[in-house]
Amino acid sequence: MSAEVKTPFVRLAKRDSMDPKKVWAIRLSSILVALILGMIPIMITGQNPFTAYGIIINGSLGKPIYIKQTIKIAIPLLGCALAIAPCFKMRFWNIGAEGQITAGAIAASYFALYWSDKVPSFVLILIMFVTAAIAGGIWGLIPAFFKAKWNTNETLFTLMMNYIIIGIVSWLQGGPWEGRKGSQLIPMFNQSARLPEIFGIHCGWIIVLLLVVLMHIYMNYTKHGYEIAVIGDSENTARYAGMNVGKIMMRTMFLSGAICGVVGFIVVSGANHTLNNGVANGVGFTSITVAWLSQLNAFAMIVISLILAILTKGANTLQTRLKVPASISDIVTGILLFCMLSCEFFINYKLIFRHGKSEEEASK
């Protein structure tokens, strides 16, 4: 009898596999749980959470202009998530997207500011695009080089690179590129350096949607994609297979940085029309969560980045209308992440309760 009592009430075992439908059901319900938990901070402010969610939906999708703004927020998130996907697939924790965006933005801005009267708009935009990609790529390459050579911790390296490049922008803002003396503002770009609009939104959305398809193909159907997947699984296996891990790491980080750079270009040329030290504005971090929540699936990223954009835009309206601080969107995003990270547990493990029945059996 005593033994019976002593047996642990619940214990864990790894799950072999799970019905994909069930997997998605769990993931969807975790989003639902997150939305329910997200009501708590809203209720703390004394507001009706349903009203609040209503405003979030209305403020992000209620009018065409709101939808445009929401999409504008989603564009860099999606682009940057695409950039991060190959690194994370490779288990290279690039949290320096913020800096790579900024590096790209700097390069694009240089040409926007100083070449706008020298070349036609189309050429200018193309130059901005290419140089932004190269600059972002180089900024991503640096930590990858040290990782490849001495296995330097990339998480902190990439992070520090953010602050360094942002400092450089601050310097440009108050120094060589400053507009009115002392203003700390870089002048707005000429019309010729601005991304054209399609359907009322700058055409960055076309670029990132194109990137979605390209990234999907790259990750799943190319030799590079295969190499990245092998390295992500085991570096030793990759070496065994004759892959030059360091080189692939650097190549992938260059690519990742380059896409971030392109995002930087889209942001300065399409949205901000100027450069400032907040050009990345946290996108580099938030997009990591977009990438991870999408299980690195390029198409899922579209959905997730839209969800986060809706939250961000909606929370702004919430602040306008109900005086609920706009940071509520960060809280809900955080909760959403926690829930989605947690739900993977129920996909990978099963709980076995004391009397010998696993939850699976119990639910049957």
Partner: protein, 509 residues
């Protein structure tokens, strides 16, 4: 109820997903007795013992101590019941000293070095060990680490000791010492369980033998009333011929010439020291040595994975011309058309991509092929299907992640792929570790078949009996140096065992 039983396991069942690791097993051990738990690799011995040690939880069944049911929910519970286990992979903290490791997890006393050292010394004296309590683990040899493990268990007052393949990494001489200690413990009234699959050790050390086969309990016999052949029958279920078929290839030709190969690891420790030998096509060259004598480095440096400090590795082609391989990356070696296949020790961590299916793993050798940036998935898919058929790999599909397959099937995928590349040199490291006897024989046959095709096969093994029966010649490594190369048909186990510990060896053997 038999109260003389220290521990009794009844109807223990443990599943990992679909795999039934232990199926309703009954086992008991008495005090003052050494029990051998015999079974092939993968028969569920370690899993069963891990349940006594509190690492795993049984799905079904009960455990009784001195006739009373107990629950072992954690290693701590196990210690509280006087059960201590020495795992195959030592559970030691590298940056701690021996003494720190020994007292780790004890709650009943202060961290008083003096009394710890005194108690450690008492234990060492009692069972005749030698350890330095202030030595850091990362500075210790394998057998020193094992000693620390045993002292650790004894320090906790364990009177039921479980040793998981304790001799796998020891030299015959060290093994003898260990067995002497175990005899002392037995005399001291302790119950000892040894997990092993080496029959000679079973016969030498144990009072009783319990046999597991494929997760099932077959039975327990008194050692004095049985013999190796009977035990083998119990292990494998039907009488097998222990002899491995060893045809002789008529005209072996030199294929791989290694001269003065020296490797130093990133910490500056010499791993290989002036290794020279020639491997012939049409011959299996065994590589013996205690664990960590440079086997891994040897194979990896030949295949271009490990940096070489000095020496040369040359491939001798069909035309008799030598091609220097040192300094080339694995990719360059492959591009020069040398045809080298390598089955590494760490299958999922090195030879295969665990998260991919068979097809994805077939690509590991061929992904570069073809022009353009896109992968060719067609021919790997065909190859995967071929291996699936020919080697009878058990898997639901060619995209089923290999990580989820059983050990034997994983190895079939790996060996199958390597052989499919039609190599001139085939290097294998512990290719049958963890496999059941039938799969082991499949692998032996595949290797012999390659040999008969004129391939130079390098076989790194741990079981001297297998080495002696499978190989044509055996190269013995000792501390990164070549201790000697012997003819497998005439050498004895003792001879090789001595060479493993003493350079040259022969004089005293």
């Amino acid at each position: 109820m038999n109260t003389s039983c220290a521990i009794e396991m009844r109807g223990i069942t443990k599943r990992f997903g679909q795999v039934v690791a232990n199926d309703s097993i009954d086992l008991s051990i008495k005090r003052g007795e050494i029990l051998s738990l015999l079974g092939e690799n993968g028969s569920g011995k370690t899993t069963l013992m891990n349940m006594l040690a509190g690492i795993y939880q049984p799905d079904e069944g009960e455990i009784l101590q001195d006739g009373l049911p107990i629950a072992i929910r954690s290693p701590k519970d196990a210690y509280d019941h006087g059960i201590g286990m020495i795992h195959q992979h030592y559970k030691l903290v590298d940056v701690f000293t021996a003494a720190q490791n020994i007292v780790l997890g004890l709650n009943d006393q202060k961290l008083d070095l003096k009394s710890i050292n005194a108690k450690v010394k008492a234990i060492c004296d009692k069972y005749s060990f030698v350890i330095d309590p202030a030595m850091k683990i990362y500075d210790m040899s394998v057998s020193q680490k094992q000693t620390v493990e045993i002292v650790k268990v004894l320090y906790r007052g364990a009177d039921i000791l479980i040793l998981d393949e304790p001799t796998a990494v020891l030299t015959p001489q060290e093994t003898d010492k260990l067995f002497a200690v175990l005899h002392n413990m037995k005399a001291d009234g302790k119950a000892v369980i040894i997990i092993t699959h080496k029959l000679n050790e079973v016969m030498e050390i144990s009072d009783e033998v319990a046999v597991l086969r494929k997760g099932k309990y077959i039975g327990t016999v008194k050692t004095s009333e049985t013999d190796p052949q009977a035990l083998t029958d119990m292990m494998v279920g039907h009488a097998v011929v222990l002899n491995i078929d060893r045809p002789k290839f008529e005209k072996p030709v030199p294929r791989l010439k290694v001269q003065g190969l020296t490797c130093i690891d990133h910490e500056g420790i010499t791993k290989l020291d002036g290794v020279s030998f020639t491997a012939n096509g049409g011959e299996i060259l065994g590589v013996a040595g205690i664990a960590g004598s440079g086997q891994k480095e040897l194979l990896e440096s030949i295949s271009g994975l490990y940096p070489v400090k000095e020496g040369s590795v040359s491939f001798i082609g069909g035309d008799g011309k030598a091609k220097e391989l040192v300094g080339m990356t694995p990719m360059q070696i492959r591009k020069t058309g040398v045809g080298m296949a390598f089955v590494p020790e760490d299958r999922l961590g090195m030879g295969l991509v665990g998260s991919m299916g068979m097809t994805g793993n077939m690509m590991l050798r061929s992904w570069r092929k073809g022009k353009g940036i896109f992968l060719n998935k067609k021919s790997p898919e065909d190859l995967a299907k071929k291996i699936w058929d020919e080697l009878e790999v058990v898997t639901p599909s060619t995209s089923f992640p290999v990580r989820r397959m059983s050990g034997g099937n994983v190895q079939k995928v790996l060996v199958g792929r390597e052989i499919a590349s039609q190599p001139k040199i085939l290097m294998t490291a512990y290719p049958v570790r963890g496999l059941d006897i039938n799969t082991s024989y499949t692998i032996y046959n595949l290797l012999t078949e390659q040999k008969m095709n004129g391939v130079a096969v390098l076989f790194v093994g741990e079981d001297l009996d297998v080495l002696l029966e499978l190989c044509d010649r055996i190269l013995v490594l000792c501390g990164g140096k070549v201790s000697g190369i012997v003819d497998a048909r005439s050498a004895t186990k003792e001879e090789i065992g001595f060479m493993m510990t003493t350079l040259g060896g022969k004089e005293n053997a």
